[in-house]
Symmetry: C2
Subunit: 132 residues, 2 copies
């Protein structure tokens, strides 16, 4: 089962690598965090602040490509955790079908905040990551 | 007219922002350079060195999405320069047609080196940028 999550906190560490995203259940209190790269955290932070770029940034380009090929981003799913690594899927609706593409969660979340679609996590990930 | 280019040099400036790509004509000597961001230059450099990542990086994801939606990256074109800003197009073949998507050149070049497709520049861009 998938649970809708919201980005609760973005911690950009300017002095060293190791930036953190905190995700919290929309309809509950469980939360978990993940460490992401500087580019991804900046990209997510930029979107959350609703800043505008005169030219398409990388995750804008990704969304433009999806639309140009007749797809529509439906949502993203943080699907599993293996050996302390999170895995995600970008879920695209096209011709009435859902096409899933393997992704790092940081790219998936950056894409979700760019295209303003929901972020889900599997129940397994939440249980394992939150210790709930 | 479009001219095939090759990435001739990548200059990563670790101390300050302002990293440079040098592109040179494949069948000639004209060349021009462009300033790109740290993420993009690192992403391009990583590809050129043929380093491997255990998980799809952002431009891998872009290529995976193109393929999942039934497209195939054909090439990229640095199409014009306006007010010292380069513009590019990612050109995707799908169902016998070419779909063009507006892109920053840095993303387009990162995608081209990821998917190993040709990089083109329009004659206008080369003339204006190289001073030839």
């Amino acid at each position: 089962m998938a649970v809708q999550m919201e980005l609760r906190r973005i911690v950009v560490n300017e002095l060293q690598d190791g930036h953190t995203l905190l995700l919290k259940e929309v309809d509950g209190d469980r939360c978990f965090s993940m460490v992401v790269g500087l580019f991804e955290v900046r990209s997510i932070d930029f979107r959350v602040r609703k800043e505008q770029s005169p030219r398409p940034l990388t995750h804008d380009l990704l969304n433009l490509v999806i639309e140009a090929l007749g797809g529509e981003l439906q949502d993203i799913l943080i699907s599993e955790m293996r050996e302390q690594t999170y895995f995600a899927r970008v879920r695209i609706r096209k011709d009435g079908e859902i096409i899933e593409v393997d992704s790092r969660p940081s790219d998936a979340i950056a894409l979700a905040v760019t295209a303003q679609v929901p972020i889900y996590a599997s129940e397994d990930v939440i249980e394992e990551a939150s210790g709930a």
